[in-house]
């Protein structure tokens, strides 16, 4: 299970680094979050007497949902404003 999590995290991070579209980046972030959720669950399974890890995973899912909602909203606004959802092309603040 930890291997799966590591695999997912790696895929997520590669997506974040490689994909240019903001939505894909958000997806990559989701993947990484979920990989960490897997880790929480897995470590709780191995070591925990209490179910802290599970609860943490739940929190993370909720936060991830919120984050996805906010992130997507921002991407939507950005897309509307700049006609693109690729962050690299939005260089207004670059000196």
């Amino acid at each position: 299970m930890l291997y799966l999590a590591a695999f997912l995290f790696s895929i997520g991070i590669i997506i974040v680094m490689v994909k240019r579209n903001a939505i894909m980046v958000l997806l990559g972030i989701e993947l990484m979050l979920n990989a960490s959720n897997l880790n929480f669950v897995a470590f709780n399974q191995q070591h925990g007497q209490q179910s802290d890890g599970h609860i943490f995973a739940l929190f993370v899912i909720i936060v991830a949902v919120c984050e996805a909602a906010v992130g997507l909203a921002i991407v939507l606004r950005v897309y509307k404003y700049y006609n693109t959802s690729v962050p690299d092309e939005i260089a207004d603040l670059k000196g």
Binding site: I13, V16, M17, V18, R20, V25, P87, D88, A91, K94
Partner: protein, 637 residues
């Protein structure tokens, strides 16, 4: 009272010509009548006071006049004036002849553009000459000595339009200056020996200093220059470029005689060896002068060489210690030589006038003349009388003065004096020859080139002074007895005048010379040898030598200046510029390079660090990840 009168007369004699100079300088140049009358009047005053001095104070006790000039430290330079019998005679002589020449010049120089300058300089010359005679201070004497050279320069170069006049004037002054440089060295030695220039003090010192011979010879250098002695005599013939009255006054009667006067004045500081040099110089000069005079064609040049010869004779006599006779000869020579020049002036003046509008020829060349005896009787008489005096014919003053020298020499009775005696006798033979050569050529025979001309005698204002001078060449100027030179001037017991057989022989000798000249020159043999005519090429030799030396050395120094010193300076400056360029290059490449390098390095660093923040979020993440991985690896290790 007497002293005051005496002083006044002395100053009148001395300063009246100077007043004449200044007055003429201030007058405008076209007030000719005022210029002439002022200058004649002042000269007359000077002459009269000189004559009064001569007659009243002859053999009298004369008190010197003390004047302070300037002082340095403890040494004072005085401007004392001192008079003796000798200087009284000289004063009167200079003033008198100068007056006559002034009068003569009125006629001779009439119509000249620069009449004012001419008369002013004549006055100035007279003043300076009287200054030489009077001064009792060697430095003052030297001042006047140089100043007569200056006035001689201006008077020789009076006709500025003639380039030859400029050349002759320059030559006269330069050769005099060479002699004077020697005189100057003499002055330095005198100063080093005696610490004073006062002649009275110098002459009263009896100790002989080791430098004395050198000092006296150096002073003799001045005499060589001024009195036209060998080898510097060559300026005198050239000086004949000046107007004839000037030649009569300066280059025959007075200035050139100043050297002889100086020798007499300073005789006491001359040592035996120095006197030998003086005598030998005089001997050479008198011989060369007489021989050269015999070979000239220009009437004034003949007279100039004759002057050189006679001056040599006087110098020779002084070298042998015969002072009074030499001075007597100076005295008589002044009159007859001035008269010869002035009558030559009469002739050339008339010829020049007659020549106008006719064909042009050299009015001074005796080959062109002839038969002037009838056309110009005054000039003939004057020339004959003074010529006879020059030749030393009895009843004339020249005979007596020469006799005095001869007998004094005879009394010496040693090898040197016999040698000198032979020289003088042969020179007097030559003198007779050239004098009568002139007389035959100019006044006898048939007129040659001048025959078609209508010749008139000049006005009385010119003839009168000549006649007065001619009159003064007779014997009574010296003594009452025409065969005894002991008169008012020569009273010294040392002079024996009772050697009648010498007088007799010399008369015979002179008659023989006259006969020879009659035989030799009656028939116009014009040919003369070029060596003699050019007076042994001494002039050419000296000019070539000194000219070359000066030219080469001045060119060398100019070359050194341009090439060495300036090139060195330029080289230094160039070297500096090169060094500057080099340091500039170093500055540019190294110093600036280092600074720029540092800046570029910083820039590079900046660029590198900036490249991390390209605005590419994914790159940031990559680097962050990279850093985290490194951190993790590091912490794990």
């Amino acid at each position: 009272m007497e002293k005051k009168l005496f002083d006044a007369l002395v100053f009148l004699t001395l300063l009246a010509p100077l007043v004449s100079f200044f007055t003429l300088c201030c007058l405008p140049r076209n007030y000719i009548k005022i210029i002439l009358s002022a200058s004649i009047f002042l000269m007359l005053i000077s002459t009269l006071s000189a004559l009064v001095l001569l007659f009243n104070f002859w053999n009298g006790a004369i008190i010197p006049i003390h004047l302070n000039w300037f002082s340095i430290g403890t040494n004072s330079f005085t401007a004392d004036l001192a008079l003796s019998n000798r200087s009284l005679v000289m004063l009167a002589l200079v003033a008198f002849i100068s007056l006559l020449v002034h009068v003569f010049s009125i006629g001779y120089m009439g119509g000249d553009r620069d009449l004012k300058r001419y008369f002013a300089m004549l006055g100035f010359f007279t003043f300076c000459m009287q200054g030489i005679v009077l001064s009792d201070n060697l430095l003052l004497l030297f001042m006047f000595w140089e100043l007569v050279g200056f006035s001689s320069y201006l008077l020789i170069g009076h006709r500025t339009i003639r380039p030859e006049a400029g050349r002759a004037a320059k030559k006269a002054f330069l050769l005099n200056r060479i002699g004077d440089a020697g005189f100057m060295v003499g002055l330095m030695m005198i100063w080093a020996i005696y610490e004073t220039f006062s002649l009275t003090q110098i002459l009263s010192t009896s100790t002989v200093h080791p430098w004395q011979t050198a000092a006296s010879l150096c002073i003799f250098c001045g005499v060589i220059g001024k009195s036209a002695q060998f080898p510097l005599f060559t300026w005198l013939p050239d000086a004949m470029e000046g107007p004839t009255p000037v030649s009569a006054l300066i280059h025959a009667a007075t200035m050139v005689a100043a050297g002889v006067y100086l020798l007499v004045r300073l005789f006491h500081i001359f040592t035996e060896d120095a006197l030998l040099v003086v005598a030998v110089t005089g001997m050479i000069t008198t011989l060369i002068g007489a021989m050269a005079a015999l070979s000239q064609h220009d009437i004034k040049k003949i007279l100039a060489y004759s002057t050189i010869s006679q001056l040599g004779l006087m110098v020779l006599a002084i070298g042998m210690g015969i002072l009074d006779a030499a001075l007597l000869h100076l005295f008589t020579h002044a009159f007859f030589k001035a008269c010869l020049f002035l009558s030559a002036g009469l002739v050339t003046h008339s010829l020049h006038k007659a020549q106008k509008g006719q064909q042009h020829f050299d009015v001074q060349d005796i080959r062109n003349m002839g038969g002037l005896r009838k056309k110009m009787p005054t000039a003939f008489i004057a020339f004959l009388l003074s010529g006879a005096s020059l030749a030393g014919i009895p009843f004339f003053s020249g005979f007596l003065s020469k006799e005095a020298i001869l007998i004094a020499l005879y009394m010496h009775n040693n090898i040197l004096s016999w040698l000198m005696l032979v020289v003088i006798v042969s020179v007097s033979f030559l003198t007779v020859l050239y004098t009568f050569r002139m007389i035959w050529f100019i006044f006898f025979g048939e007129g040659r080139v001048i025959k078609p001309l209508k010749i008139e005698e000049p006005s009385w204002i010119m003839r009168l002074p000549v006649l007065i001078l001619a009159f003064c060449s007779l014997w009574f100027l010296v003594s009452r007895n025409p065969f005894d030179f002991k008169g008012w001037m020569l009273t010294n017991e040392n002079h024996h005048s009772d050697l009648l057989w010498i007088t007799f022989i010399s008369i015979l000798w002179i008659v023989a010379a006259v006969l020879v000249s009659w035989y030799a020159f009656r028939k116009n043999p014009f040919k003369t040898h070029h060596i003699l005519r050019k007076s042994f090429y001494i002039d050419e030799g000296l000019t070539a030598f000194f000219g070359t030396v000066t030219r080469i050395s001045s060119r060398t120094t100019a070359f050194i200046d341009r090439s060495w010193i300036d090139k060195t300076i330029h080289g230094l400056v160039y070297a500096q510029v090169v060094v500057a360029h080099f340091t500039g290059w170093i500055d540019h490449v190294f110093v600036d390079g280092t600074v720029n390098g540092v800046a570029r390095l910083a820039g590079l660093g900046g660029k590198i660090t900036r490249s991390f923040q390209g605005g590419n979020i994914q790159l940031y993440i990559f680097w962050a990840l990279f850093a985290i991985i490194i951190f993790i690896i590091w912490t794990l290790n």
